[in-house]
Amino acid sequence: MNEDKPEPGIRLTERQLRARRARSIAIAVSLGLLVILFYIVTLVKGPGVLHRPL
């Protein structure tokens, strides 16, 4: 077996890895804030959160 053979697929550079990590954190924070926003609005509106006249 040749242990020096590189793994198949794309190998990200350090810069690409850093950029991907930053984007992933930003997406996680955004989704977390969205969950918190819906939670707080539900508390504020109470049962009225289901009342949605057109």
């Binding site: 794309i10 990200l12 550079t13 810069r15 690409q16 950029a19 991907r20 930053a22 984007r23 930003a26 969205l34 926003l37 819906f38 707080i40 609005v41 504020v44 509106k45 949605r52 057109l54």
Partner: protein, 320 residues
């Protein structure tokens, strides 16, 4: 049999590039005008719901900006002012910008509709659609009236703010809409006067490129003459107090004075073709002043509406 797969280059886009896609400076004006629309509307909105509405409007504006940058990447690359944007600079691929814009637009509209009210959500969706489909994709590359008609998208945020509170419309937010609508042409044509070569290189039919500088200067004056009384109309119609009236009349007079100055420079501008070396700089100085002051003028009008509404109860003003 071996198959060679081609892979797109992995992205190097940072968080800052995605923020740039959202045109944060445009977004700040959108949020401010929407906030004023929301603050002067009759009725009460819980602060959490009000903040939610403003976040959704901001994200919706960002989505429209990202979709605009996706579609306009080719012409952005040809203009000095825009060639450093994330897509033409190669930091974000067009596909990424498109996906980002659609995702943001979807979240903003649905969240505003669910958490605030359906009318505000529908209005935000219409604003994004108008900016992207009507202005960016249809008008911008076809007619010198692009920013006149397309300006409606930028004029809608105060109405979204108002609808967030009331769930409907009234004369006041329509006045705010009209103020921004008639403010947009002199504002952008002042910019296009000293960026005409940029627009011509990109093939965008802005008024100075298609009809010449003289006609643009005339149109700036005409729109300014409509804008000045329109800016004062909330006071004239009794929706705002004298403090707003003073600022609106003074600001309107300054806008008309600047437009007259630009108009007077018409002769000098035409002489520049006859090699009058000092003229272009002088005429551009007036246009740059108009561009900068128009931003201040709009900001002051909306800020005074806000002050008038907050201070109104203290002084028993009409606009309270």
């Amino acid at each position: 049999m071996s198959v060679t797969l081609s892979h797109a280059e992995p992205s190097i886009a940072g968080v800052g590039d995605y923020i740039a896609l959202m045109k944060p400076r445009v977004m700040s004006l959108v949020v401010f005008t929407a906030f004023v629309g929301l603050a002067i509307a009759p009725g009460h909105l819980h602060p959490v719901i009000a903040v939610t509405a403003l976040i959704c409007i901001a994200v919706g504006a960002g989505a429209a900006g990202a979709l605009n940058m996706w579609y306009d990447a080719d012409i952005d690359a040809r203009m000095t002012r825009t060639q450093g944007r994330p897509v033409p600079a190669g930091r974000v691929t067009p596909g990424e910008a498109l996906a980002f814009g659609i995702t943001l637009a979807g979240f903003a509209v649905v969240t505003l509709g669910l958490l605030v009210n359906v009318v505000a959500g529908a209005l935000l969706a219409a604003t994004i659609a108008f900016y992207v489909l009507i202005y960016t994709m249809w008008l911008k590359r076809r007619t010198p009236q692009n920013i006149v008609i397309g300006g409606a998208a930028g004029a809608l945020p105060p109405m979204i703010g108002w609808a967030s509170v009331t769930g409907g419309f009234a004369v006041e937010p329509v006045l705010l809409f009209l103020i921004i609508f008639f403010w947009t042409p002199p504002h952008f044509w002042a910019l296009s006067l000293y960026r005409a070569q940029d627009y011509a290189r990109a093939g965008i039919p802005m008024l100075p490129v298609v009809s010449g500088e003289a006609e643009t200067r005339r149109q700036i004056l005409l729109y300014s003459l409509i804008l000045a009384p329109l800016g004062a109309s909330p006071w004239l119609l009794g929706y705002a107090g004298p403090l707003y009236g003073i600022v609106a009349v003074a600001g309107g007079a300054a806008i008309v004075a600047l437009a007259l100055r630009i108009h007077r420079n018409r002769a000098q501008a035409s002489e520049k073709n006859a090699a009058a070396s000092g003229a272009p700089r002088q005429t551009h100085a007036a246009s740059k002043q108009m561009f900068a002051f128009s931003i201040l003028y709009l900001f002051l009008l909306f800020a005074m509406l806000l002050v008038d509404r907050l201070a109104g109860p203290l002084f028993g003003q009409v606009g309270a």
